[in-house]
């Protein structure tokens, strides 16, 4: 009897312990993963004759955020806005016969024409090189492969790296490669936003916006969207004319120029009378 009296509460305790353990395990397995959902304030940007650059806002939310507050820093978010990749030729000047002339060149098959990156922290604190390279996060991690027709350049990677750095430097100088280390901010436990400035000289063409959610240097989720960047109105008409009907375009330019010249000659003669 004594033994039974002891075993019943023990069994109950064991049962309770067991149940809570199972529940804890189940909870760990079923915890919804954090994912990112984002969008761009402007899906299409028009370049008109008055275009002097614009701003786009990229905002989003961390689904199932377990961040206690906006300042907790549990998650890192990186926003990348990239222009259409295009081939580019990089040239280096050298002294020849007292003059500085372009002597060596490398052709990169594809190079983003514009690259803006904003993040909650500097990107090297956000993740590791492998992740940054794989997702092309950051100027230094964008894939830029040299292709054929390079001139007077050893295939030495150090030399290629110099050319690559030069393009990045020149693009930064032109305001086309921009970085904002603390450009993404959380507004609440899960809501974040970032402002990306498109400079006036932004190359025309579709832009890609990418958003990455990271935690403890590991990539959790990403999101991708397109932003159209097109000429509009008169700008579109003139550019299309110059490319699709160059003879008509040239004729119009010549006639306008000749008329302006004649008008000024006659106006001048009248004024002198």
């Amino acid at each position: 009897m004594k033994r039974r009296a002891w075993s019943l509460p023990a069994f109950a305790i064991a049962l309770l312990l067991g149940m809570s353990a199972t529940r804890a395990i189940a909870a760990a397995v079923d915890a919804p993963r954090e994912t990112v959902e984002a969008d761009v304030s402007t899906r299409s940007v028009s370049i008109t004759s008055g275009f002097t650059g614009t701003e786009i806002i990229i905002f989003g939310t961390v689904e199932n955020s377990r961040q206690p507050s906006a300042e907790a820093g549990t998650y890192d978010v990186v926003v990348v806005v990239e222009g259409t990749p295009a081939p580019v030729v990089v040239r280096r000047k050298a002294r020849a016969g007292g003059l500085w002339i372009n002597s060596s060149s490398i052709r990169f098959a594809s190079f983003p024409s514009y690259y803006a990156i904003a993040s909650t922290r500097p990107i090297d604190e956000v993740s590791d090189i492998a992740v940054l390279n794989k997702n092309e996060i950051g100027f230094g991690h964008v894939r830029m492969m040299p292709s054929g027709s390079s001139r007077n350049v050893a295939t030495d990677p150090a030399e290629i790296a110099k050319f690559r750095e030069a393009v990045i430097r020149l693009k930064q100088r032109d305001g086309l490669y921009v970085t904002a280390d603390y450009g993404v901010s959380f507004i609440g436990r899960s809501l974040f936003r970032s402002t990306i400035t498109l400079p006036p000289n932004v190359p025309v063409g579709a832009l890609t916006a990418r958003v990455y959610l990271l935690k403890d240097r590991a990539l959790l989720s990403s999101y991708r969207s397109k932003v159209e960047l097109e000429r509009a109105g008169l700008e579109r008409f003139l550019h299309a004319a110059a490319y699709d009907a160059p003879i008509f375009y040239a004729a119009a330019t010549i006639v306008l120029a000749a008329l302006a010249g004649m008008a000024s000659a006659f106006a001048f003669r009248l004024a002198r009378r």
Partner: protein, 309 residues
């Protein structure tokens, strides 16, 4: 106030480019030159891509040379036949020049070639002009008569060439080859440099063809109209480098500037004016030359491939 240029693909300040057109127009009205040799380097200095500066410069030359040619034609200062012969050569030269621009751009040597040609021609012409105008100036000071460059009955190798033609207005009976070759050479340079070429052509017409001074300027302007129009057409079709908005800004400023320049020019003595022009040409040559020789701040440059969106 800004406007976005459709071909240069950049916004520019309207007032800056109107004033640039006006300033260059003023100088061209003052000195009776096209002003392309000033305009193209200044456009490049203001950030316009060199090839667009050259192509658009051609359109600007159409306007300024039409303006001058109309006035000269009304004063009967144009030898139309001579102009047409030079034009024939000029069109061929322009064609070769525009093709050279395309090939040089492809090989990355366009900028340095243009700079070298600028330094060479501006240096030589500016130097000669300076020497000549200083001599004339000291002659008028000492009361001596300026030496006539044209002596009747003088013969040179030019007289031995075939295809002789009679040029009534110039009172010349010479072979058509020298004017055609001069036209071709100047057309070639004009297409590469984005200039009209008057400052090379006028000395050639005076010293090589021995044309009377009265018809030189008018005839040169007359043929520049057609050669510049052809250059505009080729730059637009082959290289897509004519920016119509930029051209109109420069022309609008230029036509006003040229009128004021011409008025101001009437108050300046001829010799003094030539010394000033020579100095101006030499300053541009030295400025471009310095950039070729001094170590550049940035060794690297990049360009996109043609046919971008």
């Amino acid at each position: 106030m800004h406007v976005y240029l459709p071909i240069a693909e950049m916004p520019v300040n309207v007032l800056v480019f109107l004033s640039l057109g006006a300033a260059v127009g003023f100088l061209s009205g003052l000195f009776g030159v096209g002003g392309g040799f000033l305009l193209t380097p200044l456009l490049i200095f203001l950030g316009i891509p060199p090839a667009v500066a050259v192509g658009t410069g051609a359109a600007h030359i159409v306007a300024s040379s039409v303006s001058g040619a109309v006035t000269q034609y009304q004063r009967n200062n144009v030898d139309v036949k001579m102009g047409l012969v030079m034009m024939a050569g000029g069109l061929a030269g322009t064609f070769i020049g525009v093709e050279a621009v395309r090939l040089l751009r492809k090989s990355g040597q366009f900028d340095v070639t243009v700079s070298l040609i600028y330094v060479t021609f501006l240096g030589v012409i500016g130097g000669l002009m300076l020497i000549e105008s200083l001599t004339a100036w000291s002659n008028t000071r000492t009361g001596g008569t300026s030496a006539s460059s044209r002596r009747s009955g003088q013969h040179s190798w030019v007289d031995g060439l075939p295809i002789k033609m009679r040029f009534n207005r110039s009172k010349l009976y010479i072979s058509a080859i020298p004017p055609a070759v001069i036209g071709m050479f100047v057309g070639f340079l004009a297409a590469i440099m984005g200039i009209g070429g008057g400052f090379i052509m006028i000395p050639a017409m005076i010293y090589l063809l021995r044309m009377p001074a009265a018809v030189v300027v008018g005839t040169s302007l007359f043929q520049i109209v057609f050669v510049a129009a052809f250059a505009t057409l080729l730059h637009a079709v082959q290289n897509r480098t004519v920016d119509i908005v930029l051209a109109m800004l420069l022309i609008a400023g230029g036509v006003f500037g040229a009128q004021f320049g011409a008025l101001a020019g009437e108050r300046l003595r001829n010799e003094n004016m030539r010394i000033l022009l020579a100095a101006l040409v030499l300053i541009v040559a030295v400025r471009i030359g310095v950039d070729l020789v001094l170590p550049p701040a940035e060794l690297y440059s990049f360009s996109g491939m043609q046919g971008g969106s």
